[in-house]
């Protein structure tokens, strides 16, 4: 779609009335680097990029766009994996990256008040001198913004024990599309009325723009250690996970990586992962020294009994962090194996892991593409990373078909398609399958209550009924629905 130059000029002029010209980008050269987030297969340069420096500019931008009926897409750090921050060719991309101040740390109350562009990890770094940290740790935590975390309700390797973003925030300031600030949450644990803060969390920028977040901080555990266990057979690793849970242990984090993933990441972190193993498990225990010593011993034994050929315990804090650093770098590290990757997101019953991985291995042959797997073992969330080369015509399409077949397999073994990485544009058609017309209509009504003219991130997360109808027709015509067996919620 060619840019409507007249409109672009008008919008820029309106924005420059209250923002310095250097923070309003519109030339092709300047806006193209903003054309995608962490999912670079989907690209669209925005008409205008606005870089506000404070909350009142955010409000003025929204007010202006509302008055001119220009759609707005919010962007944090652009690490999203579902195209949530994919711009619109006729819209404004509103970057929150300049709002990166930590406004206050209240150590006695164990809270921090931060702007939306603050990096997730920066909060924990700032809280560290007080012996505190912010618990949700998405693998992208070094770079992703807390505003983006709220918009995606992000989880991390420690969410098994400490919950998702929504469980770790207390209060939000949100700018509405009219440019007004509302404060949500903040009361005691159980405030009266609708929990609008929870509603906003995970709303992918469709309901409002988060301008300030008050997060909970937790005291650093006195002690934390990770068990690294290596298996010759990923099935045994899956069993080990189930055995840990069955023993009544709730690890602080439990993750699996298969051999292609460890091979990709080891040269980067030098964590000492055994790269000859078919798969490795990382299992963390935290708490008091005695608790940890006791739990680690139990975990070690379970791993051995489940057939691990090597079991190591992190010797010190540096090694513990290294073990996790490798897991957290796994997605981008596969860039060492292949120019592009397509990250899938499904949930499976833990005991079916081996079967699913075998299925994926068979598909690798069928599609002629490789696949590395990382697995949030604790909650059964599987991330197959399909490796492809975007320069080779047809490979992306093959990767997408491969992905669809993986998701189908997840459903077949009794799992679901999840949205840990959000729906964005990437999984929007799956929403048609998961939700019926009435539910989708309710979601749209909810959106209209916040955003009458559907200007905030339109076209993402919740498909239009029209789109679903098209999608349904397409699949019925081609003889099969994409996921006919998918449970409908």
């Amino acid at each position: 779609m060619p840019v409507d130059l007249e409109r672009q000029r008008a919008v820029c002029a309106a924005l420059r009335a209250f923002m310095p010209a250097r923070n309003v980008l519109f030339e092709r050269e300047d806006v193209t680097p903003y054309e995608c987030d962490g999912l670079s297969a989907y690209r669209q340069p925005p008409m205008v990029v606005a870089l506000p420096e404070n909350e009142s500019q955010v409000c003025e931008i929204l007010e202006t766009c509302h008055a001119m009926r220009v759609p707005v897409v919010a962007r944090g750090a652009g690490t999203g994996l579902s195209g949530g921050a994919l711009p619109l060719g006729n819209g404004v991309l509103l970057s929150l990256a300049k709002l990166k101040n930590i406004l206050a740390i209240d150590a006695p109350a164990r809270t921090a008040r931060v702007q939306p562009g603050v990096r997730n990890l920066a909060i924990s770094e700032a809280a560290a001198p007080h012996g505190l940290y912010y618990a949700p740790d998405p693998s992208s935590q070094i770079a992703c913004s807390i505003g983006g975390n709220v918009a995606e309700n992000s989880g991390g390797v420690h969410c098994l024990k400490y919950g998702l973003t929504v469980h770790n925030i207390l209060k939000l300031r949100v700018a509405t599309i009219e440019g007004e600030i509302v404060e949500l949450g903040g009361g005691g644990l159980d405030a009266a009325g609708y929990d609008l803060m929870a509603l906003l969390t995970g709303s992918e920028g469709l309901l409002g723009v988060v301008t300030e977040i008050t997060v909970k901080l937790l005291p650093r555990p006195e002690c934390a250690q990770v068990v690294l266990a290596a298996f010759d057979d990923v099935g045994a690793a899956g069993e080990a996970v189930a055995n840990v849970i069955a023993a009544g242990i709730i690890p602080a984090g439990m993750e699996m990586m298969d051999q292609p993933a460890t091979l990709a990441v080891e040269p980067f972190v030098n964590a000492g992962y055994p790269t000859d193993a078919a798969g490795i498990l990382l299992c963390e225990s935290d708490g008091t020294r005695e608790e940890v010593a006791d739990e680690i011993a139990r975990i070690e034994k379970i791993m051995q009994d489940s057939g691990a050929h090597l079991v190591r315990v992190s010797r010190d804090e540096a090694e513990r962090l290294k073990f996790w650093a490798g897991r957290k770098a796994a997605f981008p590290a596969v860039g060492r194996l292949s120019p592009d990757y397509y990250c899938m997101d499904g949930t499976i019953p833990r005991r079916r892991l081996a079967e699913v991985l075998r299925g994926i291995a068979a598909m690798e042959k069928n599609y002629g593409l490789r696949c590395a797997n990382v697995f949030h073992a604790g909650d059964g969330n599987l991330h197959p990373l399909i490796l492809y080369d975007a320069n080779d015509p047809g490979q992306l399409q093959r990767a997408e078909l491969f992905g669809a077949e993986i998701l189908k397999l997840c459903i077949d073994v009794g799992g679901t398609i999840t949205g840990e990485h959000g729906v964005g544009v990437e999984k929007i058609d799956s929403m048609c399958v998961q939700f019926g017309a009435a539910e989708l209509e309710a979601l749209h009504a909810l959106k209209r209550a916040f955003d009458e003219h559907e200007l905030l991130n339109p076209g993402k997360a919740v498909p239009t009924l029209h789109r679903c109808a098209e999608f349904g027709r397409m699949h019925v015509h081609s003889g099969a629905e994409k996921f006919p067996e998918l449970p409908r919620f």
Binding site: P33, L121, D340
Partner: protein
């Protein structure tokens, strides 16, 4: 990442290298987190991922303008992004290629050109630089604020060079600005090595490693400087110099790249490779000999609190993160931890002169982080960082080898 390079560059060695690098980037954005300019400015275009994208556009045939050039100019070449990148994207190499293409498409003019040309011709030549530096010192009260800050106070005095004569010999890269700005450094290196039974030899006639010109859009000039140095050093190499040692990590990074940069020059490729392989950071030599040194220092251990500023060229360029710190710790130095030690101090070669605003902000942040623990001295390993930091603090900022030499000179 998908790529489609334009005809003008696709089939050249640079084009092939750039394409391979671009394709490795998976656009995850991790690198933005440790990029000093992105952290200050909060614009994708001033971070590594955005700069990679800007270069990709140019290499794919989009016309560059001053703006792309500005965003590339604002890059410190600190290469923190490389340390952070899990995918192994060699950003620094891509930048060398991208900058050269952009400089050709959008030639510099006016004051910008004049400033760069002057720096490129003065800094690498001690014969010109030394007298000018003297003038600068005398004239400091007359200088505009920006330049005033980059001309350092009188340097600390050098102790005498040892007599030498050991069987083990290493060649020293003299450096172009360091002997004038900090004559004590190389002397200290020679004295410490002398105690360890190694003679440090200088090769008269060798000049700047090439870094100054290389990063000022004068890559051809830089390559000539490299060839000249190779000619001067080669006889020493043939006579069995064990290593080519540098005390400024900024120069070290450049020399370690000789092999790569001259790979397409048949007359020099082999020797360049050999020289690059011989190049060695002073810290790594001392690391090998540390048990001897520890023995000597038992009778005179370090006292007081120090902090270490790891130059970007040391930690991100030469990938020696943490090594010198560990070494100093083993030698008995008490090093206080420093926040954000992965971030650049803003010196970055000639950056402090060309991008003063960003440079000063980074300098301020760095001094605050370094002085938070109230140390007695700031130690570092690169002349650029040393003078840049010194201009903003009263605490002594020195090459770490000088602190070691202090202790050794008290033990006889």
């Amino acid at each position: 990442m998908q790529t489609n390079l334009a005809d003008f560059i696709r089939d050249t060695p640079q084009g092939r290298e750039a394409e391979a690098i671009l394709r490795k980037c998976v656009h995850c954005g991790f690198c933005t987190a440790t990029c000093p300019t992105y952290q200050l400015l909060g614009d994708e275009l001033d971070g590594p991922r955005g700069r990679i994208y800007l270069m990709k556009q140019v290499l794919e045939g989009e016309a560059a303008t001053e703006k792309t050039r500005l965003h590339l100019d604002r890059c410190l070449t600190c290469r923190a992004c490389e340390t952070t990148c899990p995918s192994g994207v060699q950003y620094g190499r891509l930048l060398d290629i991208g900058r050269a293409v952009v400089a050709k498409q959008v030639p510099r003019a006016g004051l910008d050109k004049l400033r760069r040309d002057t720096l490129a011709s003065v800094l690498p030549r001690p014969a010109l630089f030394n007298p000018l530096l003297g003038l600068g010192r005398i004239a400091r009260n007359l200088l505009p604020k920006v330049l005033d800050d980059v001309v350092p106070e009188t340097p600390s005095r050098a102790r005498p060079w040892p007599l030498g004569g050991h069987a083990r010999r290493m060649l020293l890269l003299d450096g172009c600005v360091q002997p004038a700005l900090s004559p004590a450094t190389n002397a200290a290196a020679a004295r410490v090595l002398d105690r360890l039974g190694i003679s440090l030899v200088r090769a008269p006639g060798a000049g700047c490693c090439g870094a100054v010109a290389f990063h000022l859009d004068a890559q051809d000039k830089a390559l000539d400087a490299m060839r000249h140095n190779i000619d001067i050093w080669w006889p020493h190499v043939e006579q069995g110099a064990e290593a080519l040692l540098f005390t400024a990590s900024g120069c070290g990074v450049m020399i370690s790249d000789y092999g790569h940069l001259l790979a397409h020059d048949p007359a020099y490729a082999e020797r360049a490779k050999r020289i690059a392989a011989l190049a060695c950071d002073l810290g790594m030599i001392i690391e090998k000999e540390k048990s001897q040194l520890k023995q000597i220092l038992i009778s005179n251990p370090p006292r007081g609190k120090f902090v270490f500023h790891p130059p970007c060229s040391l930690q991100h360029g030469l990938k020696l993160k943490g090594r010198v710190e560990t070494l100093l710790g083993e030698l008995g130095f008490e090093l206080a931890p420093v926040a954000d030690s992965h971030l650049c101090c803003g010196s970055a070669g000639t950056y402090s002169i060309l991008q003063p605003e960003i440079s000063v902000q980074l300098q301020r942040n760095k001094i605050a982080a370094l002085t938070a623990s109230a140390p007695a001295q700031i130690l570092t390993a690169n002349i650029g960082c040393q003078t840049h930091l010194q201009s903003a603090t009263r605490l002594p900022v020195r090459h770490w080898i000088e602190a070691v030499d202090d202790l050794l000179s008290e033990v006889h």
